[in-house]
Point group: D3
Chain length 132, copies 6
């Protein structure tokens, strides 16, 4: 169930069609997942979002699989099942081992616990953590 219909390739506007072509070329795969098919109703946001994802998740200082792990962590904390499933898949495709995946989950769980304990106790920030 969705708040908009998912668009098939033949229903795309010319601008959305261009973005889909770039998604396929960048990922070297014909598969375009449902997120983009839902977003395609708004070619402006589709294009802006895809350009940002391409830039942020593209080559950089961090390994691709580490980038995906951080994405997974955020998606769990935001309670987004779709995002969790799609980025767990991406992380595995980019080389995340099962041992690494276990550690990601253990850290997310642990951090959730300590985050809430800190908040509950109203712990003041140590001056040792102050920046410049």
């Amino acid at each position: 169930m969705a708040t908009v219909r998912l668009l098939a390739d033949e229903e795309l506007s010319p601008q959305a069609r261009e973005v889909f072509a770039d998604i396929r070329a960048t990922r070297k795969s014909d598969f375009v997942n449902n997120f983009w098919r839902a977003l395609a109703h708004d070619p402006v946001t589709l294009k802006r979002t895809w350009e940002s994802v391409k830039q942020v998740m593209g080559p950089g200082a961090l390994e691709p699989k580490v980038k995906e792990m951080i994405y997974i962590a955020v998606s769990i904390a935001h309670a987004c099942p779709y995002c969790i499933h799609s980025h767990t898949e991406s992380a595995r495709a980019k080389g995340m081992s099962e041992a690494e995946y276990r550690e990601v989950l253990a850290i997310v769980g642990m951090a959730s616990e300590t985050n809430r304990l800190v908040t509950a106790l109203g712990v003041p920030i140590d001056e040792e953590y102050e920046v410049g």
Copy 2:
């Protein structure tokens, strides 16, 4: 401001004192940050939490700095300023470069945006993401 007083070393119960000694030995540093001083009112939770942190954040498949980056990501999504400050500091101490830090923030921001767009649109999970 906190909901409990932060305990000084000389106010610790014997069990809390033992945990503090292990924190210092493990971290090879005399500094014990405020979180543990607030948690020390409850030696049972103090001990259980420290043991878990030590296990989860200790040596494993992921680099220590990557573990801290995931911790930071979760702490941002949970809106915990103390946690963000302390783990940004830890990540830097464990070798996170400024270039890597910038990418962590860019990913967290981007994932927050796409997480909410996916949720807004009610995107159904692609069957390609199904496991076993």
Copy 3:
């Protein structure tokens, strides 16, 4: 799946029946959605919640469709699929155009990104924003 059974009209207590009658009269429609059928197990909370919704979402300074857009925004940030679906439907019924809907989603996504960046960076509030 739910934690309580949805109540059919003939299962309502007299107090719940009265609230349902007012929902139908206020909305000029016989349709009563599942939220109220789940809440009807507790006639006190049912009545209080309905009275509040009627007051808050009723005529005021803001246009009805703008009120629904704000409701949608909150529901997305709270990860409530039911709420998103029902209020997207209400907003459309009250005149939200597809162009307006696209802007709502773009703002929610954007704000989510900047919210998390601000939190990540621990940005201090500018004194220009101080009130009184």
Copy 4:
């Protein structure tokens, strides 16, 4: 307190300087708030974020003050005090009346309550809300 130092105008890199110039020109004001001064350490994210904000919050189908109200709503749900303060100020500057502000807050509060009740009860989505 922040995780990075706020940059003064004279500390900006050339690319950040350009973005600041555009912020000033677009807003017709010399004031650049702390968020951009914290983000300026990363000129790439600074530029991308500013371009997105300019596009999303710029002229469109929704009134500027309505856009700010939606931004406020999201910022409250994400517990971001900085964002709440800065966008409440922006909304007022763009014409939000005190009566409208009161309604924004009442809707956000109400939606938070009903969002959590719906989630608590696990209410299934009515088929009347299904799209296409």
Copy 5:
């Protein structure tokens, strides 16, 4: 810092004055905390909110201190320091022991961890948990 000025008793509108009188009478105390002084700019929401708090937190099936503990738990998960501080104080005033307080915090921390693990793993609901 706040988005509105806190109102002193002599600045209250007649309707807000009445609500303050009822707060004082109900609580048998002259002290009116800042939340109500901020909310007093909107007498309608002030009255509706106070009436709801009085009803929901008043005598019922659960002990007053247990009601406050649940309030604390929600406030922690929503990252609201003001709410945490005020309801921790209320819970103590209503008899919550330090041993009970420790258990509240331990449960909130633990539930946060397991909540996120469940979400991360996308665990399907056991049919044993189905209602009616």
Copy 6:
């Protein structure tokens, strides 16, 4: 749908098998719910999590059903349907009456509303709430 397969009893590693045996002995029931079957891929986290749950939710100062109510409250605020369903079931099994359940939901809803109002208004913490 899940990100891992649920493990049947005969697929468990020896360490996971031991944890399952302890879950069954502690709960005096043969039923092991899906959460543990998903977590069983990681025997270390499985064991640590179960030991913590057993300690935190075990006998203490608070009644078992009150502990479950707090768990439910947190799970609602974290938008975890699985957690809500399983702990609503546990709370009922431990004696939570329908009247008590109604009050839990009413408090969670109410606290969500006031939490967000407080956050929206940026209410400063009263000095009366300061500790020590």
